[in-house]
C-alpha cells in the first residue's frame, strides 16, 4: 500500500505564538480510515485543515499522493479532497441536488451530468432522490443534512476525505445509523479518510488506525486493538473517560425483602 497523506515535521503556531501543532510526522496509508482523537484544543482540526490548506503550517510539509500540497494548484487540490464538517455548511439558498453538485458546477460540468451524479450519490448515502433532490436544507433533519454533506463531499470522486466531527451534533441513534452507513460506504469506495472525532466508540468502530494528539503533539498512532490494550497513561485516561455509566449500573447489594 502506498501513502495517501503524509505529514512531515509539521508545526503550526498562531500569530500570537500559541503552538497548535508541534513537529508532527505521520503517514496515512491509502484506502484506510484514521481517526484523530484528543482533547479540545489539541490540534485535531488544525491538522486536518492543513491537508486542504485551509490552514498554512508554520513549518514542515503535507504530501497528498507524494506531492506537496504547497506546490499544488489550490483550487484543483481542494476539488480533489472531500470535506465534511459538523455544521454541514450546506448552502441554504440551493436545493439538495444543487448543493451536492456544486463542485461539478464549479468545474463547468454539464447540467445532466451534475444531476445524474447528485442522484447516484443521494442514493449512496441513503436518501431517495425523488423525495429529497428538490428539498432545501431547512426542510431536512440533522441526520439528513449530514447525509447531504457527505454526498456533496463525494461529488468530484475524491480519493481523500476529511471529516471534522461529522456526527458530533446528532443524537446517539441517528449517529449510530450514520456510522453504519459510512462504514458500509467506505468499505465499497476505498477512500482514504481522516476523521476527527471526540467519540472513542466511533473511532473504534470506523477506523483502521487511531491517532491521539495532546497539546499539538502526536502521542500515539495505533490500531484499535493496540489502542484499547495500551498501557500509556494518557490513552488509559482517555479510555476510562468513556463508558463511565457502565460502572454505575453494576447491580448493588440490595437488602432482601422481608417476607410478609
Amino acid at each position: 500500500m502506498s501513502r495517501a497523506i503524509e505529514f512531515r515535521d509539521l508545526s503550526f503556531a498562531t500569530p500570537q505564538g500559541r503552538v497548535l501543532l508541534d513537529n508532527i510526522s505521520l503517514a496515512i496509508e491509502e484506502g484506510t480510515t484514521t481517526a484523530i482523537l484528543g482533547r479540545s484544543g489539541s490540534g485535531k482540526t488544525t491538522l486536518l485543515r492543513t491537508v486542504n490548506r485551509l490552514v498554512e503550517p508554520t513549518s514542515g510539509d503535507v504530501l497528498v499522493h507524494q506531492k506537496s500540497v504547497h506546490t499544488a494548484n489550490l483550487i484543483a487540490l481542494r476539488q480533489s479532497i472531500g470535506y465534511v464538517i459538523q455544521e454541514t455548511g450546506l448552502f441554504p439558498h440551493f436545493n439538495v441536488q444543487r448543493n451536492v453538485g456544486l463542485v461539478l458546477e464549479a468545474q463547468d460540468r454539464p447540467r445532466d451530468q451534475r444531476e445524474g451524479r447528485s442522484h447516484t450519490l443521494l442514493e449512496a448515502v441513503g436518501l431517495n432522490p425523488a423525495t429529497f433532490a428538490h428539498r432545501f436544507p431547512h426542510q431536512l433533519s440533522g441526520g439528513q443534512r449530514q447525509r447531504v454533506g457527505l454526498a456533496r463531499a463525494l461529488a468530484a470522486e475524491p480519493d481523500v476525505l476529511l471529516m471534522d466531527e461529522p456526527f458530533g451534533a446528532l443524537d446517539p441513534l441517528t449517529r449510530a445509523e450514520m456510522q453504519d452507513m459510512l462504514r458500509d460506504l467506505l468499505g465499497r469506495l476505498k477512500k482514504t479518510v481522516l476523521l476527527v472525532t471526540h467519540d472513542l466508540d466511533e473511532a473504534l468502530f470506523l477506523a483502521h488506525r487511531i491517532v491521539l494528539l495532546s497539546e499539538g503533539k502526536l502521542l500515539a498512532n495505533l490500531t484499535p486493538e493496540e489502542f484499547i490494550s495500551s498501557r500509556n497513561a494518557e490513552i488509559q485516561a482517555y479510555i476510562r473517560a468513556f463508558h463511565r455509566g457502565e460502572r454505575n449500573t453494576v447491580p448493588h447489594d440490595t437488602p432482601a425483602e422481608k417476607p410478609a
Binding site: 455544521e87 455548511g89 448552502f91 441554504p92 456544486l102 463542485v103 458546477e105
Partner: protein, 211 residues
C-alpha cells in the same frame, strides 16, 4: 383641492413627478454602482472598512441644503442643476448600501464560507454563487433605506433649480399656498412609500429560510 386645481396643475405635477423619479433613479443607479463593489472590496480588505464607512457616514451628516450649495461653484457640475442634484443624492445614498453590502457578506455563517473555500470554489465563484445571493436581502434593505432617503432629499434639489416635486413645495411656501405644498409633498410621499413597498417585497422574496 378642487377639480380646477388639477386641470391647472395636473400636467405640471406629472412632469415634476417624472423629473423627481429621474433624479432619484439616476442617483440610486450611481450609488449602487459605487457602493456595492466598494462594500464587496471592504469584505476583502476589512482594515479599510472603518475609515471608508466613516467617510460615507460623514457625507450623510452634511445638511442637504449646504451640500447643494457646496457643489454649486464646481466646474462642469455647477453648470447644470440636475448634475448637482444627482451627485448630492448619490452621496447620501452611499452609506446605507455600502454598510449593508459589507455587513451582509460579513454576516454569513462562517461554516458556509469555509465549506465554499474547501470545495475549491474560486474567489469569484464564491462571491457570485454564495456570498452575493446570501447577502441579497441585506443589500436590498440598504437600497430601500437609500431610495426612501433619496426621494425625500430630492425635494430640496429644487432649491438649486434642479426641478422635481420640490419645486411645487417651494412655490407653495413662497406664495403661502398650501394646495401647492401638498401637490408637491403628497406625490413625493407616495413615491417613497411605493419604492419602500416594492423593495420590501423583493427583500422578503430573496430571504432564505434559516436552517
Amino acid at each position: 383641492m378642487s377639480a380646477r386645481f388639477f386641470t391647472e396643475y395636473g400636467d405640471q405635477i406629472a412632469t415634476l413627478t417624472l423629473e423627481h423619479l429621474w433624479l432619484s433613479g439616476a442617483a440610486m443607479l450611481f450609488a449602487t454602482a459605487i457602493a456595492v463593489p466598494a462594500g464587496i472590496w471592504l469584505t476583502r480588505s476589512p482594515r479599510w472598512a472603518k475609515p471608508v464607512i466613516g467617510v460615507a457616514n460623514v457625507l450623510q451628516t452634511i445638511p442637504s441644503l449646504a451640500m447643494f450649495g457646496f457643489l454649486l461653484p464646481l466646474p462642469w457640475l455647477g453648470e447644470r442643476a440636475a448634475r448637482i442634484a444627482i451627485v448630492a443624492l448619490t452621496a447620501y445614498a452611499l452609506l446605507p448600501i455600502l454598510r449593508n453590502t459589507y455587513a451582509g457578506i460579513r454576516g454569513i455563517d462562517g461554516s458556509i464560507i469555509e465549506v465554499a473555500r474547501a470545495l475549491g470554489l474560486t474567489d469569484s465563484q464564491r462571491l457570485f454563487k454564495v456570498e452575493l445571493p446570501l447577502a441579497t436581502p441585506f443589500i436590498l434593505a440598504g437600497l430601500r433605506t437609500a431610495t426612501v432617503t433619496c426621494i425625500g432629499i430630492a425635494t430640496i434639489a429644487a432649491a438649486v433649480g434642479a426641478g422635481g416635486l420640490g419645486e411645487l413645495i417651494f412655490r407653495g411656501v413662497a406664495s403661502v399656498d398650501n394646495r401647492l405644498v401638498l401637490a408637491g409633498a403628497i406625490p413625493a410621499a407616495l413615491l417613497a412609500l411605493a419604492a419602500d413597498a416594492a423593495l420590501g417585497w423583493l427583500e422578503h422574496w430573496f430571504t432564505v429560510p434559516a436552517q
